[in-house]
């Protein structure tokens, strides 16, 4: 005969204001099998938990029902409370009378009755609970970091410095990300590459970090602590081990007019190239789409000239399999291009450029060696118009959010331009100025007050060309919204930060959630910003949402701390709520008929095939078997099994039927 204890929580006013908790406790006391039923203000508090522990000991309870909030809040809490009192934690269940009752209904008898019904159902379920023990799995203490920008670099270094191994995968030929493309960073105007490259070198030289550059994630299987990743090392067509980085190949390459991705298409590169001088690793890669040897079969100069014979045209992609325990996703962001804007010319005007392109102009390693020059004719612009919110905060164009970094980098751009061209005029068309970080507002004021950037509050309606100038038709809303027409030599659009192309596919490979803009979703916007809803996969940097460098670095270190915490245990305890396939004595062996519908639908690929054999080795038949290490307890297989041969511990068919019958 069962001895169940029911504990009804008021949760302050959350439940108590709508549900008559005392009445629920009273009604529950008369349920068959219930020997103890009370209500209390805050069950999760220390005194509340003590009430449970005392009751377990005094009344010799063999099952506990806590009627309170969602199990997602406090199920682990109450399970622990029970096991501290000597009762297996899996004999404790929660009835959700908050999210499922008091928070969605009005106060009244009907609501109280519903709460009592929920408790009644859960009591019936608990009667059929079995004591379970956590499944222990080993943890592979290697982290996989996807993305070698500043966030990925920071996360890798932090994890590596805490004594664990890191595999860093970067899809471009060099690490560094967008930060390596910047000229100077706000608010200090530090040279971006100067502060970044020491970290890049540290990553390359760190004994705990293995860098796979020019590589992408092919697939990820497994679960927290036990992932198996397949990484595609794309063929550089250069043997990295032999290449000594002399650079002769790119000097002599005859294909010189390929738009350079690193220079945001403002400059050109060769077909065999190293993206920028401080690249890590400093080894070239061949762009086979534009290389003469690969497109026409002629050339091969680089191979002939290479002093170490490192060029290998036959090199193929290689798939490397690695076991990792945690994944940090730091794949960064992209920017929209100038052709996104119909009213700014659909990308027609060469001197209408994006913020990233301006960074390349201002950068000492850029196509103009740091001089601000017009892409169309190379002259120095005398009037530059900067347009903030170009694409962001624009529901009509599908990007209603704020890209966060543009107000700051626009001020920076205006300052850089004025520093290089004292006599030039800089206009900034803005809607608001978002400068919330430390020293940020002072930075913007400096641009306006000391460097005399002229800030105009209003948006630009359109840009067109007239006699070699760009006519910018804007408005000054602070001056009566009269139209303001400026003839500019160059226009810089602070374009919206968007998710990288391929973000959606990566998220699907990792089984993590993403929002409608393809930014990856954090587990909780306030309290869990570096975790995803998939255990063992963490987020860092702008792949989650647009953010600046200090925030990316902070988030990366946060993710690294989570990984280190995960790796600090020798084993991971997994929830034993897993499925299992029916087994019984011969001659049946199992109710399973071997249709393997369950195997087809299991999202975690946790179902295997097992050959049943008799004592003397004769094959009986092939049936399904659940791998408890992979099963996540979703129950899809249980729902589909036509012969009810598969069941879920903790949510058995019997338990669920009992809950339903309890209502009748």
């Amino acid at each position: 005969m069962s001895r169940i204890g029911v504990f009804v929580c008021h949760c302050g006013e959350n439940i108590g204001a709508t549900v008559d908790c005392a009445s629920v406790a009273e009604r529950s006391a008369s349920l068959p099998g219930v020997v103890h039923s009370i209500d209390y203000k805050y069950m999760c508090s220390d005194p509340g938990q003590n009430l449970i522990r005392e009751a377990i000991r005094e009344k010799r309870l063999d099952g506990v029902v806590v009627a309170a909030c969602s199990p997602r809040m406090h199920e682990p809490t109450f399970r622990r409370t029970c096991s501290e009192a000597g009762l297996n934690g899996f004999l404790c269940e929660m009835a959700n009378i908050r999210e499922h009752c008091s928070w969605v209904h009005d106060k009244g008898e009907v609501t109280t009755r519903k709460a009592a019904d929920l408790v009644c159902m859960t009591v019936e379920k608990v009667k059929r609970n079995r004591p379970l023990s956590a499944i222990r799995v080993p943890v592979t203490k290697t982290a996989l970091v996807l993305g070698g920008g500043i966030a990925g670099i920071q996360a890798s270094l932090d994890i590596a410095n805490s004594g664990h191994k890191v595999i860093l995968v970067e899809k471009d030929p060099s690490i560094g990300g967008h930060m390596s493309q910047l000229s100077e960073t706000f608010p200090t105007l530090d040279c971006s590459q100067c502060i970044l490259t020491p970290r890049m070198v540290e990553v390359a030289q760190h004994p705990n970090i293995t860098l796979f550059s020019y590589s992408e994630l092919e697939s990820l299987d497994g679960f927290i602590g036990n992932f198996r990743a397949r990484i595609r090392k794309k063929a550089r067509k250069v043997n990295e081990k032999i290449c000594n980085g002399c650079g002769l190949c790119s000097q002599k390459c005859p294909s010189k007019k390929i738009p350079s991705e690193f220079n945001a298409a403002l400059g050109n590169r060769t077909a065999i190239y190293v993206p920028f001088p401080q690249a890590v690793p400093n080894k070239p890669v061949i762009d086979t789409q534009n290389c003469r040897y690969f497109t026409t079969g002629k050339c091969g100069i680089c191979k002939k000239l290479c002093p170490t014979g490192a060029i290998d045209f036959e090199q193929a992609d290689e798939i490397v399999e690695v076991d990792v325990g945690a994944v940090v996703c730091a794949t960064g962001f992209g920017v929209v291009q100038a052709d996104f804007f119909p009213e700014y010319g659909y990308g027609k005007y060469k001197d209408v450029i994006t913020g990233l392109q301006f960074e390349r102009l201002a950068s000492a390693s850029g196509p103009t060696l740091g001089e601000i020059r017009r892409p169309s004719d190379g002259t120095v612009p005398q009037t530059v118009v900067f347009i903030a919110c170009a694409g962001s905060r624009d529901s009509a164009k599908g990007i209603p959010y704020c890209s966060k970094i543009c107000c700051m980098y626009t001020a920076k751009h205006a300052m850089l331009y004025k520093h290089k061209q004292h006599s030039g005029k800089a206009y900034v068309f803005y809607m608001d100025i978002r400068a919330g970080g430390k020293n940020y507002d002072e930075f913007v004021r400096r641009a306006i007050e000391e460097d005399h950037a002229h800030y105009v509050r209003g948006r630009v309606s359109r840009i067109f060309d007239r006699h070699g100038k760009l006519v910018v038709k804007g408005v000054d809303t602070l001056l009566g919204s009269r139209p303001l027409e400026i003839e500019a030599d160059m226009v810089v659009l602070a374009t919206a930060a968007v998710a990288n192309p391929g973000a959606e596919e990566l998220a699907q490979k990792l089984h993590i959630s993403y929002d409608s803009y393809s930014f990856f979703s954090e587990a909780h916007p306030k309290l869990r910003p570096v975790e995803t809803n998939t255990a063992g996969i963490f987020l860092a940097g702008a792949c989650q949402a647009p953010k600046d460098i200090p925030e990316s670095v902070a988030q990366a270190s946060g993710a690294a701390a989570k990984v280190a915490a995960l790796f600090s245990k020798a084993e991971l305890a997994r929830e034993p709520v897993v499925a299992s396939v029916h087994r019984c004595a011969p001659p049946d062996y199992s109710r399973c008929t071997g249709c393997f519908l369950c195997e087809t639908v299991c999202p975690y690929r946790a179902i295997e095939q097992e050959t049943l054999k008799t004592r003397d080795g004769k094959t009986v038949r092939v049936v399904a078997r659940v791998n408890p290490g992979l099963c996540q307890g979703c129950g899809t297989c249980v729902a589909l099994c036509r012969v009810k041969a598969i069941d879920l511990d903790g949510f058995t068919n019997e338990q669920l039927y009992a809950e339903v019958r309890a209502l009748a």
Binding site: A396, R459, V460, R462, T477, S481
Partner: protein
């Protein structure tokens, strides 16, 4: 379909166009691109700002301004508005209220006179009788000498019909005008 002239304009705009004026965050892009905003007393974004208050005094300013009658309904504003606001129907609401309540900006009376002459022609004939319309306009506004040199040139080119074309069912057209209170 019509509503009380003392209702706040913002409500009437919502009722008639389905749009909430709260969406406008005053970026000014409409005013920047409007071909005639430099002629207007109140640029388009300021008109929306006035309506956002729901205050009768500010609503009156919006209804009595010249801008609404200069507006060409060219849709340049709505094509570029980042919040997707369709401004021309909002201007229609303002114009309709202005005309119905007789509160028309002094400088706009010519323009309203032209619209009225136009509609008078349609009411009588069902189609535009250009010569008749222009004559009516000249009488309403006293602008007898406007385009005096243009008229003979166009007549000679056979561009102006001297007699009206009419629809057959003129009665129905008149009924349409009557039942819509025009």
């Amino acid at each position: 379909m019509s509503s009380n002239p003392s209702d706040p304009l913002a409500d009437q705009v919502f009722q008639m166009t389905g749009q909430s004026v709260a969406k406008c965050y005053q970026c000014g892009k409409c005013s920047a691109g409007c071909p005639l905003s430099s002629e207007m007393d109140l640029p388009p974004n300021q008109i929306l700002r006035l309506i956002q208050y729901g205050d009768p005094g500010l609503d009156a300013k919006a209804v009595e301004c010249y801008s609404i009658w200069l507006c060409l309904s060219c849709h340049t504003c709505s094509a570029r508005c980042p919040q997707g606001i369709d401004l021309p129907p909002v201007m229609d609401v303002l114009r309709q209220r202005s005309a119905r309540t007789g509160r028309v900006h002094r400088q706009a009376r010519k323009i309203v006179a032209f619209h009225r002459s136009f509609l008078k022609s349609i009411r009588s004939h069902g189609r535009l009788f250009e010569v008749g319309t222009i004559a009516s306009y000249k009488f309403r506004t006293g602008k007898f000498f406007q385009d005096l040199f243009l008229a003979p040139r166009i007549l000679l080119k056979g561009k102006l019909g001297l007699l009206p074309h009419s629809v057959c069912d003129r009665k129905q057209v008149r009924r349409v005008f009557e039942s819509t209170d025009e």
